[in-house]
Symmetry: D2
Subunit: 493 residues, 4 copies
């Protein structure tokens, strides 16, 4: 998946580690392993999708102009020239970057400033380190989504003394104006929204392979940058003091390298932390379920009958929010512990088939496949809304709906009406993909937590005494005097 | 104010008339009394506003394409010809209508169908009356906002046997596609988004003044239609069995007419009801505060320090929702009873000045003026969000911010950064106008309640035995066997 | 009604009347009209009841005999001599009182001190008036429940300058130790727990009819004192500046007198107010439903299926609390507005018969009769708990359970098991009387609100300029500069 | 295992140990370690305590003498003869027991029947095992609190085929009537309320050391029984198939034995399970904080300022409940993750010293010592309530309050007023011991979970094939084919 939605999130993965975790994680999906065919397919699919999308936009434009952390503001239609073919120079005379349009820098700057408002942890890190410059001497090559929030991270790294070169980890998620703003301040950025696969690797290469500058730190999100350096410039690792990786996929790759004895520098896994997971799942979903449903359907929550399938962290978040706004929520759950928790939290624990006819909204967050079957879709009442907050796009048996007797009608972006022969409509959101990724925004504050962790991991690895970290994958050390910083942050929040 | 937002704005009065109607209305403000200068000014202001809006849109386009009940989907830039100058014919050969573009009918139809999903009360009214046709013989001339939701009302009236002619009560709120869809099915509609003042009265006139058809019922929202008929076609009233009026303004005018002995037909005030107000305030605001803040700022609610000024129904709704999502909410309140309620509901009751420095969000819902003063704005912390859920646009002293030492920066539609000389930014939403009208949608369900009441009032007036209603203003009779119908509805909801 | 429960039935007064109430009340019953036979029966019934009660105590120190604001601490068995036959003198040499045992004064003093902790409004009133003595010259004769809380009121009146004589409005509710403590400090008190009817009137008489002292103010709760003065000492009214009456019954009598033109002094109705009702119903029941169920049954709320019949203020309070503690709550409601509110608040609105088999707890708060019928009791599951939070004792058809095929087993005080022939047990609390009166305590804070209002009403009537109040029944004037006092109080709470 | 219930008793394993557990526990106290001096002190203290207690009872039937799982119903004053000196025979002619008064059996039976209502898991276990008798041949010697709930356990064991002999694990907690009821049905019980230390060991000895019967299973709570058998009858272990131990203390002892190589039979630790902790902590404390505060102080929660120290599972439970009932809750927390959770859940995170002056209630649940210091106690406002829900009795520095300048006044059972020289009173509950253990009841449902787990552990150990369990301490096996049954159970709950 390479649409912008990927950005925040991709795809929560339920980890049922034998027992159960109370947590889900998200992380980016394994699809982004470019070596396999599936991914190539994804690449080729994109243009179509984008096309369809902009078509629908041309007839239906939002009234609310609501901002989304991962959206590009730019009307892409205004300029069809590839950035690679343009000669651009920033106001300081530098042309060491490749973005859509350097002239959008001012708009992007504003977006970065907005993001800063809600990223106080990073800002306070900046202030604290003003004297020390803990990253003085660090040369960081980064590959992440390029958004206002990551720009705040990058500029924090710079403020801490680092030199940075940056590229996008996703061909669709770049906010062009933000990239321009970064380029304008002198950060070499190579990224734009709507890259081709070739563009993607070209950008990474331009980032790594530059004369007179060699990275000594890597910040990666998905492992593609790491993969490229391994493949093309293995000698770079001689100078690299460490890799910081944020995604499930990337972390998975690092563990594989480590097992195979091929990991040649220390790596920091910033994906597996309680806080990240509490935030990504419980707290974030508590808000995004409301946001996603509201933006797509304008539904009034009060009095609505809702069934939530699965009472893990994501389910708990969804249920808490919906209950609080007056929805009448019941739960399906096969794990007895989670079911008991649901029960103790005041939710009816039911079988989906028994309640499906009465429901106004059906939400899946189980991590399993085919939780909502065609037979159940057949029995839903007219107007029932179906969406997925769980893993990937298989919880609802969407495939079964692509059959000749049913009519699909795209009524808005991310909203399809599936129409039965008798006229009954079921409202399917995001074609069964993750609602929170497709139809709501990720609060800057949540991204702030991730970004702060990344910054701390970079500081730790860069400053660690020789020998503290071996060629292995590490979790962030618990103590990093971060505790107190956090606390002080929170007291201001 | 004549933008669509006005629609639900204003003002709501609690009336516990011993009876209750089921409905809520919102209605227009007294500003829409076209006789005075202020309104004329408003008219002239519009083009500018619209211009600014579409400008901002051209650089920032929404990712979410979120739908808003009162927004027009149409890109107005595509066709600058006035509808009055176009010759349009629907597929049935009729040209008795005037809309932006009859070809948009199909899109509008879809919007109507979506709206129907959440207006089950009207739909069940349709079904129930299929045999009886309680409005057979009714000739209704209507003047309301023209949106998907009112279309469902109009088509319900038709299904109940009525003939309808319709025009818009607001120059900006018409959904062009919906108007087209209505026109396509044969309802003579005269309305488009962005009418001039002259257009406005021309449309009303075309509605009323048609050969071979004379209205015997009036459904009005704001009183302009009624006013026009009084002024131009007083003879129409000889046949009119009644007026149903939804807005505060319109109701106010009717009571004035009644006092002056000039009301020559019975009128039904469907504005003043407990339910309306519960819905417009408590239940609706409980959802729209979240929606409005999220769409404009993407703020994460969890852990945010919020002060809500005023603990009436609106304040209660806001507080309930924000608290439920993890915000740390405190209250300012001068009425001791409301303050005691806040206290008993677990909110700290504070003085605004004492807490202003710590707040992340400041929300006004008092109904008073200058609740948030310039001095308090000066003391807010960087990034503080300020918005108004209360009455009109005077709760926050926005005027005081329009001074030379402060810089205004429009960062998104409805979002301004006010920048102090030291760089501090305060985030002002909707320039201090009502957040819920400007930045969030009204759930169809709420509109459904209003619309159902209007339909019931029309049925009641049209079928009442001669003499039951005099030339006076009435509230809906409590009994209309609606109680049970409602109940059964609710049990399905 | 003369059981101690009466104490908190009535009483709290909201100062801000005149607006509107969303509230239902419950209140004490009109049984206390001594003229009719039923009441006489009540009197004669008491000894039996008391007997049964102390018998049951001898085998089971019930859980529900837990401290209650209206309970006597004293083991009544220790001394069978009637107080009327004892000669007692306090340490100051006075014998102008009649209590159970003056030696219990110290214990009672401690209880009063405990009560003072949570009656800050009265205490602050004391402080404020230290200089002014607004009741200097007032001679107040009072007839209320005699508890630690009313003692704080009485001592506040004394601190404000008044002389007081006091008697009990209920034959069972007197806390003997508190009466002793009052007597010890010099307040002539005539009251003990377990008075006979003859004692009751004797005490009132001793209070009113004393040489060298004539009341000029009356504070009554139930109207018995007022009744007695009317009947026996009508001349007293020549000096009386006003009556303050707290109970529904008493207020009802006053209005009757007023209608009949027989009211010869101004009277203040401190019963009918928004605050009283909010407190007595919503806030108080929110806590007492939990307390009452817990003390009687030790039930765990989490996960329990509960149906609450009626969604007025009492029902809202019950539902809020139970839902918050994890119970799965559904509602029955016949008023469509209340039903819609329940729905919007996230509760399933059901028919009792449809859910009765699944319920763990059934709670009535409708104000109607036979809400829970024998047929429904027959269908309850084993162990189902049934109780009443609504009006009087007729909501549950308890009479139908007193039939030969069912066995009653008193398992604890206030807890009966009704056993069906097949062994099924239904747990009936307080024999269907009000749970909150029978099985939980009234928080001192709530009583504090009542008491403060009474004090303010006395001050107002005593100090009002001649002619402000006629021989009529008044509500407390809204303004009494109490607003700010309240507010300041609340800010400390 | 063999029955469904087991499933959730154990099973969940916290994955993120080492970092932080989201849980705290409480557990039974360590006081009962008879080997050390401190414990001896406890013993010697008891008579005094009991004395003081019954004294206070004679003048004040305390609120806290409400039914509690550990309270005796009987008025101990009625019979001063030691049970050891009485000759009692049950109606079946057996005298193999020693209880306070066998004639109380009928009352105790009723209490057992009440308890059965809320222990459906055990009852269904009984039913299920009616055919199989999985404990046929088991001879269980047990040492637990003797209450209605454990009686249900014991009678379930008997129904499953076991023979049982039982004694009390605590000298004060025995419900005499329940002991009588058990003795009446033929279970040899040796226990009464108010045993001396000598009585305590005499009872254990009578349980173990009986002719013609030798235990092959031990169920212990605290380890005293196990200790005694080790010390006096080590040969018994030759036949014992296993020990089931429920308490922290007992489990600790078993692990010590195991480490020392002295554990000679398998032992099952039924203390350490997620469910137990979720129940004992989160769900149970959510209810008991309200119950404990209400029964001791009758406080109204609405509007009270409360600080909760510690936001682990216990703190979360307390905060949830108090917030829901309208208290204004803030948190102190030193762990940044827990603090962040508090923040995201909408609680102000504060420093205790900064808020201590304003608080109405201070609750500790940290597991640390001296969380509330003397200096903070000095700064509390008059009437502030202080209590402990955390570990042992050291969270509040109670020792510092036992100094000459402060006066202690026992105002009710479990409630002391500490009076400062200036008259300020602080209300200390349970002398700083666990509020939930001292002042509220444990819902039968929670006890049911524990008891079911114990039964399952006994079944598992008794039926395990030779060699499955070594001489070690085990956790209950996770799998026990149980999931679905639980679910069905929950649906009834």
């Amino acid at each position: 998946m390479h649409c912008w939605q990927l950005l925040h999130t991709q795809n929560i993965v339920w980890i049922y580690v034998g027992l159960f975790t109370w947590c889900t994680f998200f992380c980016d999906s394994t699809q982004i392993q470019f070596a396999n065919t599936e991914d190539k397919q994804e690449f080729s699919k994109y243009p179509t999708k984008a096309g369809r999308r902009s078509l629908s936009r041309s007839i239906s434009q939002s009234s609310t102009d609501s901002y989304s952390s991962a959206a590009s503001y730019t009307d892409s239609s205004d300029d069809e020239t590839s950035p690679r073919d343009k000669a651009q120079v920033n106001t300081h005379g530098s042309s060491d970057f490749c973005v859509k349009n350097i002239k959008q820098a001012e708009f992007g700057r504003r977006e970065i400033e907005i993001a800063e408002q809600d990223m106080s942890a990073l800002i306070s890190l900046r202030k604290r380190a003003q004297g020390e410059k803990p990253l003085a001497g660090a040369k960081i090559v980064g590959c992440t989504h390029i958004t206002a929030q990551t720009a705040v991270l990058i500029e924090t790294l710079v403020a801490l003394g680092a030199q940075c070169r940056w590229t996008a980890c996703n061909i669709y998620s770049t906010q062009n104006e933000v990239a321009a703003a970064l380029a304008e301040t002198g950060v070499p950025v190579f990224a734009w929204k709507g890259e081709s696969e070739d563009d993607f690797w070209w950008c990474i290469d331009r980032c790594v392979n530059t004369e007179g500058w060699q990275a000594n730190m890597i910040l990666d999100d998905g492992g593609d940058l790491t993969h490229w350096v391994y493949k093309k410039y293995p000698s770079v690792f001689k100078k690299v003091r460490g890799i910081v990786e944020e995604s499930v996929t990337g972390v998975h790759r690092l563990y594989q390298l480590s097992k195979a004895g091929k990991l040649c520098v220390p790596a920091m896994n910033v994906n597996d932390s309680v806080t990240k997971q509490k935030f990504d799942n419980l707290y974030c979903c508590r808000e995004s379920i409301l946001d996603g449903l509201k933006r797509t359907t304008d539904i009034m929550f009060g009095g609505k009958q809702v069934v939530v399938c699965g009472y893990g962290e994501v389910g708990k978040g969804c249920c808490t929010a919906l209950k609080a706004l007056g929805a009448i929520v019941c739960i399906t759950e096969i794990d007895p512990i989670c079911a008991l928790q649901a029960c103790m939290d005041g939710f009816r624990v039911v079988k989906l088939s028994e309640v499906i006819r009465q429901m106004d909204v059906v939400i899946t967050c189980t991590g399993n496949k085919n939780v909502v079957t065609r037979e159940q879709l057949d029995r839903m009442k007219n107007g029932c809304i179906v969406c997925n907050m769980g893993h990937s796009n298989t919880e609802i048996d969407v495939a079964s709906l692509r059959s000749p007797e049913l009519t699909w009608e795209r009524v808005r972006s991310q909203v399809d009406h599936i129409i039965w022969p008798d006229g009954k409509r079921v409202v399917l959101l995001a074609e069964g993909r993750l609602l929170n990724l497709s139809c709501s925004t990720v609060p800057t504050f949540v991204l702030s937590i991730t970004a702060t962790t990344q910054a701390l991991a970079l500081i730790e690895l860069f400053n660690a005494p020789e020998g503290r970290y071996k060629q292995d994958v590490y979790l962030l050390p618990k103590k990093m005097d971060t505790g107190m910083e956090w606390l002080s942050y929170m007291q201001t929040c």
